[in-house]
Amino acid sequence: MSWLPALALAGLVTFATRLSFIALLGRVQVPPLLTRALRFVPAAVLSAIIFPELVVQRGAVDLSAGNPRLLAGLLAALVALRTRSVGLTIGSGMLALWALQALLAG
């Protein structure tokens, strides 16, 4: 099955979102509730993506010290809070993951 039609629609939806207020300005007031709700969208969406990546291993929830992605992710979160640097967060997280994977394998 080709994914192109679905991706074209996804692209259209994205474009419409980006154009929304730019095109409507002056004709429509942004409802205050929507403005307040939009503020929480990035944190909610990104967390909903992050959590399963960290705690789910091979289809099951794994909160043990034997889960390298969970430990590496927690370390990266500390680095992110401290440094606010995307590069350092990714770098330290990947190094931690590789080290833990090597440890657990050996």
Binding site: W3, L4, P5, A6, L7, A8, L9, A10, G11, V13, T14, F15, T17, R18, L19, S20, F21, I22, A23, L25, V30, L33, T35, R36, A37, L38, R39, F40, V41, P42, A43, A44, V45, L46, S47, A48, I49, I50, F51, P52, E53, V56, V61, R69, A72, G73, A76, A77, A80, L81, R84, S85, V86, G87, T89, I90, G93, M94, L97, Q101
Partner: protein, 238 residues
């Protein structure tokens, strides 16, 4: 003020926009390469993988799409998920609207297409710098265009590089983990108050709890519930 500075030409504005976008490319180029890698791994052919970078043109949504395609999610869920993941762009649209209102619909459409996280960051910084001016440069939209099109070009090229290198990177490098790490870098410093933190925790826990849901609907439901929790906590405290 003695005399007004000379008005910058469209060409000058365009080049300034390109230049100001350059430092951001350091973070974007590896991200684009990894997307190209993951799209191939998910089972997309090279053409579709590359097409997604110009049709959808949104890093995090493209990563999630690759995951959903790998997991065999239905097309309707993919479209809905992209919509929710990209809802934050409505914020950028609202923020840029006043600065673009004098432009024709073609310019508005072009700049809206280029309104990614990374281009918005540069455009919004310019608007903040201009806030003290009585009259911003009449060709400022060329600056926005320069910033946006620079990001666009680097995204296409880095995607192509990722697709090209795709077959040569072994699975054990776990490069897919960079997705979670990038989002960790974006989310944690942004949790400035209790309501935002509550939204993040609720959405995260629910998305794990909802993993068993059919059609990979968990992400969308968890995100919507997280926003509702954030609104609820905010309302109780004010």
């Amino acid at each position: 003020m003695s005399s007004a500075p000379p008005v910058a030409t469209p060409r000058r504005e365009f080049l300034d926009g390109c230049r100001d976008e350059l430092p951001i490319l350091l973070g974007v180029a590896p991200f684009g390469m990894i997307y190209g890698l993951l799209a191939l791994r998910a089972g997309l052919d090279p053409f579709t993988s590359q097409a997604m970078s110009s049709v959808v043109f949104a890093g995090s949504a493209q990563f999630i799409s690759a995951q959903l395609i790998r997991d065999g999610a239905p097309a309707a869920v993919l479209i809905m998920t992209v919509f929710v993941v990209n809802l934050r762009h409505a914020l950028y649209s609202a923020s840029m609207a006043a600065h673009l209102k004098h432009l024709g619909i073609r310019w508005k459409g072009l700049l809206a297409y280029l309104l990614t996280d990374e281009a918005y960051a540069v455009m919004a910084a310019r608007c903040t710098r201009d806030a003290g001016l009585a009259e911003p440069s009449p060709h400022r939209h060329w600056y926005f265009f320069g910033a946006g099109v620079t990001l666009w070009g680097s995204w296409q090229l880095s995607t192509a590089a990722g697709i090209f290198l795709g077959a040569q990177v072994p699975d054990r490098w776990s490069l897919d983990f960079t997705l979670a790490l990038t989002f960790i870098a974006l989310v944690f410093p942004a949790l400035k108050d209790r309501a935002a933190a509550a939204a993040a925790v609720a959405a995260g826990v629910l998305s794990v709890a909802a993993l068993g849901l059919p059609y990979k609907l968990g992400l969308v439901l968890a995100a919507v519930a997280g926003v509702a929790v954030g609104l609820g906590v905010e309302a109780r405290r004010s």
